[in-house]
């Protein structure tokens, strides 16, 4: 790890001023990903601007019945919040499925959104990686890619986004708020992450120097009946190999509204809109659920060693939606 400067910001304007448009400076939140990547030599910031103590640690109801989550709210506080647990249970479940109790106490909502892929080529500076060193190549395509993307990837990068929280946020139409020296801005979470294309090193649509200040969840009555399920190679404390966030509003056996997002299958949390279209207005039965999964996964382009993910996601979608439909019928 190379030497770096450290400053602590106490308010948002101060944080932006301290960053001072320095492309080599980084905001430090919980540090659970950034400090690790600095030790690995993947991140080599000149300065850290500590934003953990910014007054962005509240979860508050919005006027229209949604929730506004501050960027420095810890993952633990997000998952423990009664409003989140009551109105967006899949979000609480997603957060609780991630990392460990220790890491959730440290990690912030803003940092969670900005965490980098855990692709083993990206985190190992002795290996090539287009995301870390643009143009150096992607060894995963010909090499180890059992846990890589099946949707939306390119030949330049097949890494997946590691966040569980963001999958639920994507399902619930969350909007990311940020501040820049030039003023505030907003990005829907589904547009927050850039397509991979030929530029895997460009990960988000955040302007240079912007600071995430919060995430807004619009009101979503459908989310009251929601679930997050995560499959991994160890029962806990492991990244997903596939996950689903789903919400269902079923009346008289017909799906009136559905929300569906996939994790660990793409470079971003994957909102499954094609599947949602199949579900909406159709009978809430296993046949429809499978057809919905197939509609979404028709675009899948698996590699030789991750084709199982297509089956996994199809099975997960059917299992989770079936469970929700049964719950709705109770």
């Amino acid at each position: 790890m190379k030497e770096f400067g450290y400053q602590r910001a106490l308010d948002v304007p101060g944080a932006l001023a301290l960053l001072d448009a320095d492309a080599d400076a980084r905001f430090l939140g919980g540090g659970t990903n950034l400090v690790d990547l600095m030790k690995a030599g993947v991140e080599r910031p000149s300065r850290l601007v500590d934003v953990r103590e910014l007054p962005l640690d509240r979860i508050e109801p919005t006027a229209d019945g949604g929730l506004r989550i501050g960027a420095t709210v810890t993952n633990s506080d997000l998952a423990a919040h009664p409003g989140v647990r009551r109105r967006y249970p899949a979000l609480a479940q997603a957060v609780l499925a991630g990392a460990s109790g220790q890491l959730r106490n440290m990690a912030t909502v803003g940092g969670n959104l900005l965490q980098r892929t855990r692709c083993g080529y990206f985190t190992d500076v002795t290996k090539a990686c287009n995301k870390r060193v643009p143009g150096s190549g992607c060894p995963a395509v010909e090499g180890e890619h059992r846990n890589h993307a099946i949707l939306g990837a390119s030949s330049h990068c097949v890494a997946v986004h590691p966040s569980d929280m963001a999958v639920a946020l994507a399902a619930f139409d969350a909007v990311v708020s940020y501040e820049t020296a030039g003023g505030p801005g907003e990005l829907p979470l589904t547009e927050f992450y850039l397509p991979v294309g030929g530029t895997p090193h460009l990960e988000t649509a955040l302007p240079q120097g912007a600071l995430i200040t919060g995430v807004t969840l619009p009101p979503a009555p459908v989310a009251a009946l929601s679930r997050y399920r995560k499959v991994r190679e160890r029962a806990s404390y492991a990244f997903a190999i596939g996950s689903v966030a789903a919400a269902l509003d079923v009346r008289d056996g017909v799906t009136r509204e559905a929300r569906l997002a996939f994790g660990a299958v793409a470079s971003k949390p994957w909102r499954a809109r094609a599947a949602e279209r199949v579900l909406t207005g159709a009978p809430a039965d296993a046949g429809t659920f499978a057809a919905a999964a197939d509609a979404e996964l028709a675009a899948a382009e698996p590699l030789p060693h991750n084709a199982y993910k297509v089956t996994l996601m199809r099975n997960l979608v059917v299992a989770v939606l079936t469970g929700l439909a049964e719950e709705a019928a109770r």
Partner: protein, 197 residues
């Protein structure tokens, strides 16, 4: 006495550890774990992976468990730090420590301080009503889940034990939780009141 910062890459800080104030100058790269172990001779917190992947370095920050290997020391200034050395009181073991000792909740002992700090926090998090990934119904109306072996296992999963003393660790946490619950209510983790409101 700590020398003054010599460059933009050092800072003079005061750390509040186990109720004592320690002033020292740290290289910004120094993690809280390295500051504890290499600067302050508090070697109870262990370095198992240095990457937040094993939990051996778990300490309490403002009453909440955290991995000290990913916590920069300079960023820990102003926070109340509790390490395993701060859990026992005048030689009187914390109920979690006593249960680990009595039920053989360890083998080599290297992950033990982290397991113990984590367990102390698990019991408090549970008492504060926090759900976990194995809690069937996370809605607040469902009420807190009982601290079953399954709940303990999930909540303790951030602490690896390669000797695999998991069976007796879980027994020790369960016994300690019962002991703690029998005692006067302990403080909930900082911020829990707000979250539970």
């Amino acid at each position: 006495m700590a020398p003054p910062p010599s460059s933009a890459f050092d800072s003079s800080i005061t750390l509040n550890i186990n109720g004592d104030k320690h002033t020292l100058t740290v290289d910004h790269r120094t993690t809280l774990l390295d500051a504890l172990r290499e600067r302050l001779d508090l070697t109870g917190s262990k370095k198992g992976c240095d990457q937040g992947q094993c939990g051996a370095c778990t300490v309490l920050l403002d009453g909440r468990r955290a991995v000290s290997c990913l916590q920069l020391a300079v960023a820990a200034e102003g926070r109340a730090i509790t390490t395993v050395e701060g859990l026992s009181d005048e030689g009187q073991l914390h109920p979690v420590q006593q249960a680990f000792l009595d039920l053989d909740g360890y083998q080599c002992g290297y992950c033990t301080p982290g397991q113990i700090c984590s367990a102390v926090a698990v019991i408090e998090e549970h008492a504060a009503g926090w759900p976990s990934a194995v809690t069937e119904d996370v809605r607040p109306e469902a009420g807190p889940p009982p601290l079953s072996a399954e709940e303990i296992r999930e909540r303790m999963s951030g602490n690896l034990c390669r000797c695999s003393a998991y069976v007796s660790i879980v027994q020790a946490v369960a016994r300690a939780a019962a002991t703690v619950q029998a005692e006067p209510a302990t403080a909930a983790p900082a911020g829990a009141e707000e979250a539970a409101a």
